[in-house]
Each structure stands twice: as structure tokens, then as C-alpha cells.
């Protein structure tokens, strides 16, 4: 089940990056990942706590998978820690659908962490839908920063 999902994610991720590379993102966007210092917090040195998603999508981009692999590596070293993965959506969708979408995004991140050896019992998931944006602007940049999953230490 997980492997199948994983393969689908990889396939989808590949097509997505293929599309993304065609258009050059401005400013602090690299692929679908925001790299400005303002919104990046660190679980540990060099590991970003969040990954970003395309509109209405929950597939992990190449950049997102890179970050999650680093998170997994760090988590493997910190065996006593548990985590909550928050799923979020931007303000451009209906509230209830966004709650479901946030849940799907958080689970996409969780599944990927699990394929890299993190036990599901250490990872819980919560969706906030569009309720907790990090950027309150109504711009495509703000929305891209809000479509995210964030890995938070739970203990």
C-alpha cells in the first residue's frame, strides 16, 4: 500500500517538476520551495521544517522530498522525539475542502517520512485547512507559502 502510494508520488512529482522547471519563479521561490529566511524555522541546523505544495495538490515535489529525507535522517538520530505534521491550505479554496486537503498534504509528508524508516507511531497529523496562514497577503507568493506541511516537535 505504502510502496504503491510512494511510486505514485514519485511519478507525480516527476511530472510536476517537469512543468515547474519551464517557468522561472521570481524572488525567493526555488521550484515550489520558499527559501527566504523569514518563514524558515529549523528543526535542527540545516533542516527546514516545512514543505510546499502546488494549488489543490498534495503530491510532494522533488524539493519537498529532499527536505523530508533530511528530516527523516535527523529524526532517526532523535529516537525519543515525536512529531505532529500540520497540513495547511491557501485561502483560495472552500473551507471544508481545504480541511480535507490539509489532511491529505500532512499525510503525504507522513507517508514519505515513514518510507524513510520513521515509525508511524511517532508521527501524528493535524489539518488546519486555510485557518492558519503564515503569510497574510492575498498574493500568489503568499498563497504558495501557505500551501504547506510543517513538521513540529510534539514532545
Amino acid at each position: 500500500m505504502n510502496l504503491k502510494k510512494f511510486l505514485i508520488i514519485i511519478a507525480a512529482g516527476l511530472t510536476l517538476t517537469a512543468c515547474a522547471s519551464g517557468t522561472k519563479k521570481s524572488g525567493k521561490m526555488q521550484g515550489d520551495v520558499y527559501t527566504g529566511s523569514a518563514t524558515i524555522e529549523y528543526l535542527a541546523t540545516g533542516v527546514a521544517d516545512r514543505v510546499f505544495f502546488a494549488s489543490n495538490k498534495s503530491t510532494l515535489t522533488t524539493a519537498a522530498r529532499d527536505i523530508l529525507r533530511k528530516q527523516a535522517a535527523w529524526m532517526r538520530k532523535k529516537k525519543d522525539l515525536t512529531f505532529t505534521i500540520e497540513g495547511h491550505a491557501d485561502e483560495r479554496g472552500t473551507r471544508e475542502y481545504n480541511l480535507a486537503l490539509g489532511e491529505r498534504r500532512a499525510n503525504a509528508a507522513k507517508d514519505y517520512l515513514m518510507t524513510y524508516g520513521i515509525s508511524g507511531s511517532r508521527l501524528s497529523v493535524i489539518s488546519y485547512g486555510k485557518e492558519r496562514p503564515v503569510n497574510s497577503g492575498s498574493t500568489p507568493l503568499a498563497w504558495s507559502q501557505n500551501r504547506r506541511s510543517v513538521t513540529v516537535k510534539a514532545n
Partner: protein
């Protein structure tokens, strides 16, 4: 609520005026509202004063008339005439209006009435007159406690609306919604309830936890909503008479998007697990949980047809969010939206004839209606962001919320409640103390 709402109806005269000329057509956009004169209700001499919030209401007859006039004006169907132009005194007019006087100011209908307050009881009677035909159209009286005087005004409004349009009114109703304050990134949300006209706002939660999407039971004073109590997003049930809250069902994950079945006996909602949201029902009596949809896509925002036989919902099983209809057991799932864009938040009209929805297309949000088979799509209003329509109990008006665009600093954000007629006319802001979202309209309270 029920106990204080013991309102007694007397039918002391009913004129089945077959030849009444005055009529209001509500099936089309009404660009020519009916001129109506609402005479202040005459106060029987010797009546006691009414106090509200420690203040004496000076002229209760005038206050009741004002509430009625506001209801009429907001409906867009009536044009209440200015009091300064009234020639006849309220007491005389209530016994027998001089129709020539009212014709002179171009009134086509006239409302007169009388209030008596004694021994902590308020008795109000009113008459509706057809000015053109010089006839009485309806006359009714009610008794209640004096603090219920606004409801008397709403009930009178409903009776007049019903007599003139041939359809049930919607004024003696309430709206539950989410009150919002604070920064956009950290909104504080509380459940709030108010009369349909925005009066009597009460807050039902303290704002300690995030609350979303409250919905009224069509049958009683229960509300179902989503609460993040203890950071566990779950569907709750709240009795607004007793204040008792309880979580609905024992699900090992997020439950959301709740609504009542038309008989009030079940709650239909989504349950999200492992990245997949499906639709479930729970029977409130025996607590039996049933899974209604079983699909790897997101299935949410379910709403029953008023006969309980069908459910509409939105799903992204086609790849994008679209509206589907199925039988209430989950069989015969049929997609009904094929237009350009995304479709969500379907809500079945209490009349059964239409489904209201939110549509997203080319960066704009629309509130629209369509027939339950997906035909006859009509978009009523377009904006930057708006969603979550809820029907008035007579299926003529929709209430929804609208958010504004913010600048790059996040400034300029607001979320407000709005209403619009089914015809697409008469769009109105509902004023609330704080920002508001997720409105849900109650059934008629006195039914």
C-alpha cells in the same frame, strides 16, 4: 428557548379576500417593491412600560413598527413609506382606516396594530389592509412575555409576507455564525448567534479553541459544528438552550463538515484518515455510524435533500472539486457539475428544487444555484472570495460570507456576512459587531 416562546395565536378575524388586488410576485427580481405603510402600533392606555437592558422603551408600538419596516426593506420586496407622511393617527387607523388618506401617500398596503402590556404579558394585534381595494386582508393577535417584543415584530412580518407573497416568511428566525477577531494569521473564532436582522447577538464559546462551520438542526435548538478542542478537530453537538456540548462519535481522526439530516435525527459529516476523506452518518439516538462513501478521493461538504432520500456533496474524484448527488445509502453516485471551474459546498434548498453552491473560476468566487440534476446553473454573485451559502427556511434567500483581499502586509482583511435573493437581486450586508463567517440559518422558530 421553547419555554419562553409560548406565543398564543388568536385568529380573531380572517377575511378570505378573494378579490385582493395587492400581491407581491417573488419569483422574479423585484425592481418595483410594494409601497407599504406600517403605522406605529397603538398602545392601549394604562399599559406597563417595557424595560430592556435597564432602560425603558419609550414607545413600544413605534419600535415594533420599526423592526417590521426594516424586515420589509431588507427583503427587497416592500418599500416602507416614511412615517412623516402618515395622516391618520394609529388608534383610529387600526379601527377603520380612511383609505383615501393612505392612497394619497401611494400606499398599496397598510399595517395597523395595537399593543397591550399588563401583568408581565404583552398582547399585540395587527391588521393588514389592502388600500387599493379598501379591505382587510388579515388580522391576528399574539400574547407573549414583554421581553419577546422583537419576536412579535418578526412574527407579524412573517404573517404579512405570507399573506402578500403566498409563501412562508423567514423573519422569525436566527442565524448562527462564527465571530472572528484578530490578525489574519491568528484569528480568534467564537460561535455566535443572532436574530435574522442582526439583533440580539450572543456568543456561545469563549474563543479558546478554533471553531468552524456551525449548522442548525432543522427541527430543534441543536447545533453541530467543528471544534479544535484540545487540538483534536472533531464534530460537536451543542444544545443552545442548555449549553451542553458533546463530541459526535468516536473517530480516530478529524471529523468535519457536519450537517443534520432533515428530520434532525442524524448527523452527516466527513471523516479524514490517512489522507482520505469519506462521508459518514451518525444516528443521534442509537449512535450507529454508517460509512456512506468509499473512495480514495476527498469526499466532503455533504447535504441532504429535504425528503432525506438524496445527498449532495463535493468530491475531487474526477481530479478537481466537483458536485455529486447520490442516494442517501451512498448508491447511484452521479456527477452533476460539468461547467468550467471548481464547484463546492453544495446545499440543498429546503424547498427541494435547487442546490446552492460555491464556484471557483478564473480566480473569482461565485455563489450560484442549479437544479438537483445540474441543469439551469445561475450565478448570483461574483467576488474575490465568498462561499458557504445557507438557505432561509422558505428557500428564497441565501446567506453566505465574503472575505476581502489583503495587501502584502496582510492589511485590509475582513470577513462579513451577506445575503442575496434567489433572483440575484437585493444583495445586502448583515451588520455584526465583529467580523463573521460560516453563517447557518435556522428554521422558523414559531412553527
Amino acid at each position: 428557548m421553547k419555554k419562553i416562546l409560548l406565543i398564543i395565536f388568536y385568529l380573531f378575524a380572517f377575511n378570505n379576500s378573494l378579490y385582493a388586488i395587492v400581491e407581491v410576485d417573488i419569483t422574479r427580481g423585484n425592481l418595483d417593491p410594494l409601497p407599504i405603510a406600517v403605522s406605529p402600533l397603538y398602545i392601549e392606555p394604562g399599559s406597563e412600560d417595557i424595560t430592556q437592558n435597564g432602560k425603558i422603551i419609550k414607545n413600544i408600538g413605534e419600535e415594533i413598527a420599526k423592526v417590521i419596516e426594516k424586515n420589509f426593506k431588507r427583503s427587497g420586496l416592500f418599500n416602507p413609506l416614511k412615517k412623516e407622511s402618515f395622516v391618520q393617527n394609529p388608534d383610529v387607523a387600526h379601527i377603520k382606516p380612511r383609505f383615501e388618506d393612505w392612497r394619497l401617500i401611494k400606499a398599496q398596503a397598510l399595517v395597523t396594530g395595537k399593543v397591550t402590556i399588563s401583568e408581565d404579558k404583552l398582547r399585540a394585534e395587527f391588521r393588514l389592509w389592502d388600500v387599493v381595494a379598501a379591505k382587510e386582508m388579515v388580522a391576528l393577535a399574539f400574547s407573549t412575555t414583554p421581553d419577546n417584543w422583537r419576536r412579535v415584530a418578526h412574527i407579524i412580518s412573517d404573517k404579512i409576507y405570507q399573506r402578500l407573497t403566498g409563501e412562508e416568511g423567514y423573519f422569525d428566525t436566527r442565524i448562527i455564525y462564527v465571530s472572528e477577531t484578530g490578525e489574519k494569521t491568528q484569528r480568534v473564532k467564537k460561535l455566535a448567534i443572532m436574530d435574522q436582522d442582526g439583533a440580539n447577538i450572543k456568543y456561545l464559546t469563549l474563543g479558546n479553541e478554533l471553531v468552524l462551520t456551525p449548522r442548525f438542526s432543522p427541527k430543534n435548538q441543536l447545533v453541530t459544528y467543528l471544534s479544535y478542542f484540545k487540538n483534536l478537530p472533531r464534530v460537536y453537538l451543542l444544545d443552545i438552550e442548555t449549553g451542553v456540548q458533546e463530541v459526535v462519535g468516536d473517530f480516530p481522526g478529524m471529523t468535519f463538515a457536519p450537517r443534520f439530516s432533515p428530520n434532525g435525527e442524524k448527523i452527516i459529516m466527513s471523516f479524514a484518515k490517512d489522507g482520505n476523506s469519506d462521508i459518514y452518518t451518525m444516528n443521534l439516538k442509537d449512535r450507529v455510524v454508517e460509512k456512506i462513501t468509499d473512495h480514495t478521493s476527498i469526499d466532503t461538504s455533504p447535504s441532504y435533500s429535504p425528503d432525506g432520500k438524496y445527498i449532495c456533496f463535493n468530491s475531487d474524484r474526477s481530479g478537481l472539486q466537483q458536485i455529486y448527488v447520490m442516494r442517501s445509502d451512498g448508491s447511484q453516485v452521479k456527477r452533476i457539475t460539468f461547467g468550467k471551474g471548481l464547484y463546492g459546498t453544495p446545499v440543498w434548498s429546503p424547498r427541494g428544487d435547487l442546490i446552492a453552491f460555491t464556484k471557483v473560476h478564473k480566480g473569482k468566487f461565485f455563489i450560484g444555484v442549479m437544479r438537483p440534476d445540474g441543469s439551469g446553473e445561475r450565478l448570483l454573485t461574483e467576488n474575490f472570495y465568498q462561499e458557504a451559502p445557507s438557505w432561509s427556511p422558505n428557500g428564497r434567500v441565501l446567506v453566505f460570507y465574503r472575505e476581502t483581499k489583503t495587501d502584502s502586509d496582510g492589511k485590509g482583511f475582513s470577513t462579513k456576512l451577506w445575503s442575496i435573493d434567489l433572483t440575484g437581486y437585493n444583495e445586502r450586508l448583515i451588520k455584526t459587531e465583529t467580523d463573521g463567517s460560516d453563517p447557518s440559518w435556522s428554521s422558523l422558530l414559531s412553527k
